[in-house]
């Protein structure tokens, strides 16, 4: 094994959270920081040539190579798990910037009560009324404490939107259910399209409060506090699954990397696959990784930061034997607990238009959503629904392969041949589904992660095993979302003089399934495993994302979420990471030890 000279800080993962940590530390201290990124280097100029549906959307060119490592899945712990052999339900990124390069750019703050969810649910329902096995936890940090860090992340990205709650004052046209913000968004909302406006109008007529989706795809030219200037979105429609070729979509490579790569104390090593955290006597001593030639390398470091997303953070802790593995039988142990994903909705039917209404341009965050059934809002009329989610609508035509063949139910006898082709051509761009549901996924005792006993990665290390299934609650959420989406679709149809039909609905991430599945896309919002909290009995890291048992090890990002909120996770992953960086710099460095 090749042994390198020690560095002050080694960070595993060069995505949003890893580079945010690196930027804060190199900005405010003189420490040397090395970031180890498993995938290739990436830069904006690569992305123009990648506006290709086959290579990116179908063959997943920007994703981690699943041949080298995947996860296994089983529904419950008495079954044998099987490997996820090809990508379906989530898409982990790789390379500098990680999934932050191919993300859609939806930049939510979580609801205020999300951070005290266990307390809030007990207060509302009473402990005895909660479903058996619910393992929702408080985060140990409040929204008010995180607000400045949310603002820092929003400014860095240049998030566009409209405030609905400015220091407690509710503002029409914004999300009146959002947690109070101290400032208006850094940028205004995106332009919209005919069908998006129609969705918004239908929602308002039904008494709901639609708001522009908060988007990290710039709505205008913007210079952030670091002096990085990026242009407004050109609405090319290549956001989700693609890197932005003009830097309108905030990505680690166009916001954080340009700053850190100029610093002498910063080093980024690509093709460095970290396999172990090396530790002794409760102290991390560095990491072992494989370099691009397949050679083992030891990188000693005084501080180790794991910033390699939910899966790999959890897996590295398991592989390195750090912490107490969670046991779903006894509820003891913490590592791997509270695996959550995203709850989805039933089909709300389709609006069929007389002529083509969907164009090809668009931006990831373009559109309206409503939070009238998010959190505890409006859910009491749906028995059994304990937490809701947001509902969006509108949409664009999508790319030619994935959007082709969207026809009303019964429009052709079979899904090939002349009759089908004619119907598909006639209905091109004329069908809109009203409500995409993005629901909270509560944590349950039986949903967790550990190491698979059978399957291994390219180096022979055990794969991470997911044990997870939907419960009755997710089905009730889905039914609620379907009912609301149907109301919205009917209203849209009435407003536009279009036709409404039940059923149908297709495409990525749209609908729930009876059982958990790994085949069609849900979202890449997979959370938990190394969750944060206020007690080492119930969490892996403290609220500063410092490992309870290893003070010089920080584990940042989505792995720390005790459960998944309805909103997309990136902004929150960054907010808790910024807070962690503050604590590391201001407190840990002055008094190495557990940050009290």
């Amino acid at each position: 094994m090749k042994k390198l000279k020690p560095v002050d800080v080694v960070i595993v993962g060069g995505g949003w959270t890893g580079l945010a940590m690196a930027k804060e530390i190199t900005e405010r201290t003189s420490l040397n920081v090395v970031v180890l990124e498993r995938g290739p280097a990436r830069k904006t100029s690569d992305y123009m040539d990648m506006m290709d549906e086959v290579d990116n959307a179908l063959r997943h060119r920007m994703m981690q190579n699943i041949a080298e490592e995947t996860v296994t899945h089983r529904f419950s712990r008495n079954e044998t798990a099987v490997p996820v052999r090809q990508y379906g339900h989530f898409l982990p990124g790789t390379g500098t910037g990680g999934a932050g390069e191919h993300w859609t750019g939806i930049a939510y703050r979580f609801l205020e009560d999300e951070f005290v969810l266990a307390t809030a649910m007990r207060e509302k329902y009473g402990a005895s009324k909660l479903p058996e096995g619910l393992s929702v936890q408080d985060w140990g940090v409040t929204y008010a404490e995180l607000e400045p860090y949310y603002w820092k992340a929003e400014q860095m990205m240049g998030v566009g939107g409209k405030a609905g709650n400015l220091r407690g004052r509710l503002i029409d046209g914004g999300n009146i259910f959002e947690a109070p913000r101290q400032q208006e968004f850094p940028n205004p909302p995106h332009k919209t399209t005919y069908t998006i406006e129609l969705f918004g109008k239908a929602a308002r007529e039904l008494g709901y409060h639609p708001y522009p989706t908060p988007a990290a795809t710039l709505s205008q030219t913007y210079t952030n506090p670091d002096g990085i200037t990026r242009p407004g979105c050109a609405y090319c429609g290549y956001c989700m699954l693609y890197g932005c070729m003009i830097e309108a979509k905030a990505q680690p490579t166009n916001t954080l990397l340009p700053i850190v790569q100029k610093r002498k104390t910063f080093t980024l090593r690509n093709h460095a696959w970290v396999r172990r955290v090396i530790h002794r006597d409760g102290k991390a001593e560095g990491v072992m990784y494989m370099d691009e030639h397949g050679e083992e390398v030891l990188q000693p470091a005084h501080i180790v930061v794991l910033a390699s997303w939910t899966m790999n953070n959890t897996r590295l802790l398991y592989l390195s034997k750090i912490g107490d593995p969670y046991d779903p039988e006894t509820g003891k142990g913490t590592l791997g607990k509270n695996l959550t994903h995203q709850a989805r909705g039933d089909s709300g039917g389709l609006v069929l238009f007389e002529k083509r209404v969907l164009g090809h341009g668009g931006a990831g965050g373009m559109g309206f959503r409503l939070s009238d059934f998010d959190g505890f809002n409006g859910i009491d009329q749906f028995p059994g629904v304990l937490r809701g989610g947001s509902i969006g609508g509108g949409g664009v035509a999508g790319h030619p392969i994935s959007s082709f063949g969207n026809i009303p139910p019964g429009a052709a006898r079979r899904n090939w041949g002349s009759e089908w082709k004619k119907a598909a051509l006639e209905w091109q761009g004329r069908i809109v589904a009203a409500g995409g549901f993005s629901g909270e996924h509560l944590a349950y005792r039986q949903n967790y992660m550990d190491l698979d006993p059978t399957y291994t990665d390219k180096w022979g290390d055990p794969l991470l095993r997911h044990t997870i299934d939907w419960t009755e609650h997710e089905h009730k959420q889905a039914a609620m979302a379907g009912a609301i989406a149907a109301k919205l679709a009917r209203q849209m149809a009435a407003l536009a003089g279009a036709k409404y039909v039940q059923g149908g609905g297709r495409g990525r991430g749209g609908s729930r399934t009876q059982r958990y599945q790994v085949v069609s896309y849900n979202s890449t919002h997979v959370q938990g495993g190394a969750i944060m909290g206020s007690s080492p009995e119930t969490s892996v890291v403290n609220t500063y994302l410092q490992h309870w048992k290893m003070p010089n090890l920080f584990v940042v990002g989505g792995s720390a979420f005790p459960q998944n909120a309805s909103g997309n996770p990136t902004l929150t992953a960054l907010a808790i990471t910024y807070r962690s960086a503050d604590a590391l710099i201001e407190r840990y460095l002055k008094h190495p030890g557990v940050i009290a």
Binding site: M48, I66, H360, P400, W416
Partner: protein, 221 residues
């Protein structure tokens, strides 16, 4: 090294009238005559003929416009199969191999190359020469199979992919559905809510960026 095999693609179909079903306006496409010989990377000439005939029934050339034959769908499939996708280079292929429930997706050991090679003969060596009704009968018999689902999906991909992948020849698929290509900006159009399908000549990615683009299937190794 295997013998170089070719498939002949009739180019004369491109000279016909294309009726857009939405607007009803006939639009004349660029005329071309004769046939084009395309070298094959994976299929034998016999296999390619059968696949081409099957794709032509899945996405026929008919009164609603050109189909899989004119778009060179078989060339697209041939290149995908010859590339990393066909060889499962980017699929988890470690054992043990076990059967599982549909929620776990395809768990089979066979890669797309093997699936095509094993299943094409099941359509019959005489498939390409059969009348369309008989071809449809044979396809109906397998329409719930993994092979057919792949073939159907690959046919749609070959119709509407960027031409660098071998299909969507002369952007005929994108013209058919009114897709202008991966344009770099809709900044001026996005708010206008213009709902007319695009009826100009689409642009390929290479035309838009101004230089040749290398598709992933051409990657070595």
């Amino acid at each position: 090294m295997r013998r170089r095999e070719f498939i002949s693609i009739p180019a004369k179909g491109l000279g016909g009238l294309l009726i857009y079903s939405l607007t009803g306006k006939p639009v004349r496409l660029q005329a071309q005559d004769g046939t084009v010989k395309v070298p094959l990377r994976f299929f034998t000439a016999e296999e390619a003929k059968i696949v081409q005939a099957a794709c032509a029934r899945i996405f026929p050339s008919d009164e609603s416009g050109p189909g899989a034959t004119e778009a060179n769908v078989v060339v697209y499939i041939d290149r995908q199969l010859a590339g990393p996708y066909g060889r499962d280079k980017y699929r988890y292929t470690k054992g043990p191999w076990v059967e599982s429930v549909p929620e776990h997706g395809y768990q089979g050991k066979e890669n797309p190359q093997q699936i095509y090679r094993a299943n094409i003969p099941k359509l019959g060596a005489d498939f390409a020469g059969l009348p369309p009704e008989q071809q449809d009968e044979r396809l109906e018999k397998i329409q719930n199979s993994l092979f057919f689902r792949m073939l159907r999906q690959h046919t749609i991909e070959g119709m509407f992919c960027d031409p660098m992948h071998g299909g969507n020849k002369d952007l005929i698929g994108w013209q058919l559905i009114g897709y202008p290509g991966p344009l770099m900006s809709y900044r001026d159009e996005i708010g206008k809510n213009d709902t007319e399908p695009f009826r100009g000549k689409p642009k390929s990615l290479a035309q838009i960026v101004g230089h040749p683009v290398k598709p992933w299937e051409d990657e070595a190794g």
